[in-house]
């Protein structure tokens, strides 16, 4: 912006344009450095370029986890305090409840 104003000023005063005045170039350089510093602090850590390095420590459990396909009909249910054993029909199951 200030560069345009400067050139307009030169055109009006009919002076030759040789180079940008120092204060504008210093301004530009300083703002570049400030922007770089700010971005580096906001953007966070760099990520490794090689795609396979991230996967080195991951197991199949993590990579093969499919949250949209979770089923809840697994044995983990029995570990909860709310678990109610389903009523059994065969006499073999009654063996556990025998007093001994």
């Amino acid at each position: 912006m200030s560069y345009r104003i400067y050139r307009a000023y030169l055109r009006v005063t009919e002076q030759e344009y040789t180079a940008l005045p120092t204060d504008i170039s210093v301004q530009g350089l300083l703002s570049l450095l400030l922007a770089m510093y700010g971005i580096l602090h906001i953007a966070g850590d760099f990520k490794e370029i090689r795609a396979n390095v991230q996967l080195q420590n991951k197991s199949w459990e993590t990579v093969g986890n499919r949250p949209t396909f979770y089923t809840f009909a697994h044995r983990g249910r029995a570990l909860s305090p709310n678990y109610v054993m389903p009523p059994s029909s065969s006499p073999q199951d009654m063996v556990e409840t025998l007093p001994s």
């Binding site: 795609a51 986890n65 949250p67 949209t68 979770y70 089923t71 809840f72 983990g76």
Partner: protein, 263 residues
């Protein structure tokens, strides 16, 4: 476990890490929620709803409906007509084994929004939960005709085919996954294992080369190295093999065994 032992900010960060990492830690999520984060619900800000959803699913996983139900009610109050909350309600039906009601809700969601992929995927999960693997496979192949690039669905289809014992189709699914993620050593290892299970000299040679690729991508993958050794010994035991190939395979096998013993 003491209520105020854990710093609620640490718990929140841990939950966020688990969310982004896409891992299944249902019991820990339920425990930390119950003993710590539940009391700091209001301090979570915008993240609260994602945490509630995460805790809801973890609660269903551990059969802790006393934890899951309040979360669902809070989400319902905040987002009244939302399809996502409706999907969560249907998941609750699934956890209670009311599969027909769950299917109804999913069909309603799909009717309302044709592009909703998660409801279709949950239908497959319902069929799998009921044990109807062949129906689940059919439903999933229909889904994949519409949404071809969904790698999670391809993984699920591979798993379903493995459950059925249909190794050639499972190998095809893994091939699709390798095409989309060629740098993932775990996919190469799994494909090689499927080929190894199928047996026969050609499959054995393919398995050997894929184990090699997995070991190249990740030298720390002991499963791939051991698989390499096993497939080499299998190839060596076949009668029709040229002498030069025999020597190469033997060298490969000894190298693989040395690597395994070093790790």
């Amino acid at each position: 476990m003491a209520t105020l032992d854990l710093d609620w900010e640490e718990v929140r960060d841990q939950l966020r890490a688990w969310r982004e990492d896409n891992t299944r830690h249902s019991e820990e999520v339920v425990d930390t929620w119950e003993h710590c984060l539940k009391h700091y619900k209001t301090k979570l800000g915008d993240e609260r709803w994602m945490v509630e959803e995460q805790v809801f699913v973890a609660g269903l996983d551990c059969n802790r409906l006393d934890i899951a139900d309040p979360c669902l009610m809070a989400l319902n109050e905040q987002f009244p007509g939302s399809l996502r909350v409706r999907k969560l309600r249907a998941m609750r039906f699934e956890a209670l084994e009311k599969f027909d009601e769950a299917m109804e809700v999913y069909d309603n969601i799909i009717r309302q929004d044709e592009t909703n992929s998660t409801a279709r995927k949950r239908k497959v999960a319902v069929l799998r939960g009921q044990g109807r693997i062949t129906d689940a496979i059919k439903e999933l192949t229909e889904y994949l005709k519409l949404f071809m690039s969904d790698s999670e669905a391809w993984q699920e289809l591979c798993d379903l085919y493995l459950k059925e014992g249909d190794y050639s189709k499972a190998a095809f699914c893994m091939e699709e996954l390798i095409l989309s993620n060629p740098h993932n050593h775990l996919f190469h290892t799994r494909y090689a294992e499927i080929k190894y299970t199928q047996g026969g000299l050609d499959n054995m040679e393919i398995a050997r080369s894929y184990f090699c690729q997995a070991a190249k991508l990740n030298p720390g993958n002991v499963r791939a190295l051991y698989g390499l050794f096993m497939s080499c010994t299998q190839v060596l035991s076949s009668p029709k093999l040229s002498a030069q190939k025999k020597k190469e395979t033997q060298q490969l096998a000894t190298w693989a065994l040395k690597e395994v013993s070093e790790r």
